[in-house]
């Protein structure tokens, strides 16, 4: 019985971690202030 409870705790923790990670996601950031380029750049 105690083994089952330990396994359930591990499973619940894994689910909670993954759900939190995907819910938070990555921040969108801001639009780059750099322009649409109209001259040939000398290097990347």
């Amino acid at each position: 019985m105690r083994a089952l409870i330990a396994a359930a705790i591990g499973l619940a923790a894994a689910l909670a971690l993954v759900l939190t990670m995907t819910a938070v996601g990555a921040p969108a950031g801001k639009t780059s202030p750099k322009p649409l380029v109209t001259t040939v750049p000398s290097h990347p």
Binding site: A6, A28, G29, S32, T38, T39, V40, P41, P44
Partner: protein, 332 residues
Amino acid sequence: MRRKSSLVLLAFAVFFAALSPLMRWYAFPRLAKVPANQYQVVVLEAKNATLLTDTSLVPKVVPKLSVIQTLKGNVEESKKVKADTGRDVVVWDSLSYIVGPDGKMVSQVPERYIFDAHSQDPVHTASESVDGDPVHREGIEFKFPFLTEKRDYFYYDAQARTTAPIHYKATQNFRGLKVYYFEQIVPWVKVPLPKTMPGGITPAALGGSVERWYTTKRMFWVDPTTGAPVNGEEVHQEELRFPQTPDTKPVTVFAGDVKMREDYIDSTVELVKSQRQLILLLTSYLPWGFLILGVVLLALSLFLEARGRRPADPAPDDTVRDPDPDPRPIAV
């Protein structure tokens, strides 16, 4: 104490074993996405290209023509589209700016491309456009999906404004990366005249009745992990045709082999090599690492449990043994 430790190890074993498939099949499709604020410039060149430079309708061979392609993620617009559609989208405002050997503009084609940040399926809004005209894209453009497969994809052609298959042809090694080579051949097709043409050419200056036709062989070398092309090339031909004057021969507007500039290939390969590690972390390194860790922890937990359950050693025997027992059988 051992039993308590084995239960803690069991909990961790299940935690990591469960995290492995969850990371690969639940978290990865939701976490891997094209960033909304992407900004990227690529320069392509066509050497010894044929170009129509003015209204004389006599094309010339120019030593070099440069195409500067900028992709700029519009974060504010992507938030608006997300609010309207409920989808996580990326809005790319792109500009293909073509410069002649004298550094002057030959033509430019702005585009707005809106797509799902995860799957790269096109998302349709009223602001989707090519060269200022509203369009309805199907298929992919510029980039392939994450974990690109060895199959054909539908690719949007911004010149023809139609979608056609781009074919997987081979797996190749490109500067240390395993890449998939894709190829699309667009047969001669009538396409809209661009708003800006070389030498200030306009339909009116050409007598009004003029059509633009185009054909191309499009080639991409794609990193299958990120879906990012690390190299691109187009053997491209455009000409003007005069349907109302059949005696007038078609005039070449542009003909050339457009290739990515070497330094941009190098920088793209370096960028892709670093980005693919993030994808591999979610699809391979972490899932396999967690699975192995889970198995090791489970084995350790079972080992401790087994040791905890083993019966105690027998107590030391204090009875005095007979130093010389009689080996002879007792005769009855």
